[in-house]
């Protein structure tokens, strides 16, 4: 689980071009959207693509993403329970 969280932090910084954010800046329970990392709706869509591409998880309803993408913690939990690759 720790390895997955670390991997997610790297991926998010990389895929979402968070230029000035370091891995150690992101805490497991920080909010990814809103005040936290300040991600927006396009970032959320990009995370949906990442879930599909890297973990074989298809989220048909973007509203589902809201709970899953709350924090690194919630993402890691969902991925570890649902991943197909």
């Amino acid at each position: 689980m720790e390895a997955l969280k670390q991997e997610l932090k790297e991926k998010i910084i990389n895929i979402l071009n968070l230029e000035d954010v370091q891995i150690e800046d992101v805490n497991d329970n920080d909010a990814l959207f809103g005040d936290g990392l300040g991600l927006d709706s396009i970032d959320a869509l990009e995370l949906i693509v990442m879930m599909d591409k890297d973990y074989g998880i298809k989220l048909a309803d973007p509203k589902e993403g809201k709970a899953i993408f709350q924090s690194i913690e919630t993402m890691a939990k969902y991925i570890s329970e649902n991943r197909t690759k």
Binding site: D40, S41, I42, L45, I48, V49, P62
Partner: protein
């Protein structure tokens, strides 16, 4: 300053509902939609709803006109423009321009070529149209996302008003392509049923394709309407999400109203954007309420055509002008129960009502909005 009046005269359109204005209006009046379930795996693996022009019909119509080599989109554009150039008798001289609006132009040529060929450039597409008809002035391309078609009308009006041209032919077109289908799909914005603008049951966009054409002119003798005011003001909010307050649309409409010297009370009909995404339709409802336009009959024509992107603004203007000429506004297809937080007067059925002044609006990615006010002249004909 002595401001010249500028008019919109001849119009035409090439759509899944027909290859002239009358057949399109007939279909809309009869509640016929051009949206069909498409099973074309070269465009998308799963079946999808879209408004697609029959290629055989298009090729046949084009072959009757010319044996020139042309892309599918160019055929649509030539067929839309040809009759109005002929009917208008306007000379293609130094005072006559062509404005072409599109979002993606001949984007499909990218599939066939690793290196983009000249046709992938929008100015080349415009040059091909200019060469076909023999325009003598340099073409002007407007590519401003989903407001392109109506912005092209506004730009044409401004150039004519400034005295740079006496006549501007406006041609707008976009195709349903794998490029845009996959893109809207990646935005989770595609509806799995034909789109339902302003409805509580709306599930997103249905794409469509069309070409539309019009003449914007200094000459009022054959005019349908005066282009009385226009504005294209940005939301300054988000590159893909519409403003929650409708700020850019409100300011665009205000700009158009001020120039036209009209108020909300003068507007008989709004031909709105209505893409059927949750946020777009909501944003429009907020904007119309802020301006006191909530009781004006409004429709979105996306239920008949799907979202035809860079063509939509002009195509919907062409139909709006017919509503004005016939004093008949059309049902907003797909609308069943109210689905926006503020009340607006969405047309649930066709309605015979005097239309002397109508407002066309559009909004798009990049936070863009355009509003244009049209006032009837010559009884709309």
């Amino acid at each position: 300053m002595n401001v010249k009046n500028v008019y919109i005269a001849y119009t035409n359109c090439i759509t899944p509902l027909g290859f002239d204005v009358d057949s399109n209006v007939q279909a809309i009046a009869n509640g016929v939609s051009g949206i069909r379930l498409q099973e074309n795996s070269t465009l998308m693996t799963a079946p999808f709803y879209a408004g697609v022009i029959d290629s055989d019909k298009l090729n046949t119509a084009f072959a009757a006109l010319s044996d020139a080599k042309a892309t599918r989109l160019e055929k649509m554009m030539v067929l839309a423009l040809d009759p109005i150039i002929k009917k208008s008798g306007v000379e293609l001289n130094a005072k006559t321009a062509l404005i072409l609006s599109t979002t993606k132009g001949n984007i499909t040529v990218l599939n066939e070529n690793a290196v983009p060929v000249p046709d992938a450039y929008l100015h080349q597409l415009a040059q091909n149209i200019v060469d076909f008809f023999g325009f003598t002035t340099q073409p002007i391309v407007v590519s401003n996302a989903c407001v392109s078609g109506i912005m092209a009308v506004s730009v044409a009006k401004r150039l004519v008003q400034a005295g740079l041209y006496d006549n501007v032919f406006v041609i707008s077109g976009d195709e349903v392509s794998e490029f845009v289908l996959s893109g809207f799909n990646s935005f989770q914005a595609m509806s799995d049923v034909p789109c339902k603008p302003y409805s509580a049951n709306r599930k997103g966009v249905t794409l469509g394709e069309a070409a539309a054409a019009a003449l914007v002119t200094i000459n009022n003798s054959e005019a349908k309407a005066k282009i009385a005011g226009d504005g294209s003001i940005n939301d300054a909010n988000h590159i893909s999400g519409p403003s929650r307050t409708g700020e850019g649309l409100v300011r665009s409409i205000e700009s158009a109203f001020n120039e036209a010297g009209v108020t909300a009370q003068n507007i008989d009909y709004i031909s709105a954007h209505g893409t059927a995404t949750p946020f777009n339709d909501e944003m429009e409802a907020v904007a119309f309420n802020r301006l006191g336009l909530n009781e004006v009959p409004v429709n979105s024509l996306k239920g008949y055509y799907g979202h035809t992107l860079g063509a939509s603004g002009l195509l919907e203007t062409v139909i709006g002008l017919e509503s004005m000429a016939r004093n008949k506004v059309f049902a907003s297809m797909g609308y069943d129960e109210p689905g926006v937080s503020q009340p607006i007067n969405v047309l649930a059925a066709n309605l015979d009502t005097p239309v002397n002044c109508f407002l066309k609006t559009a909004s798009g990615f990049g936070g863009c909005n355009t509003a244009v006010v049209f006032q009837k002249v010559n009884n709309g004909r």
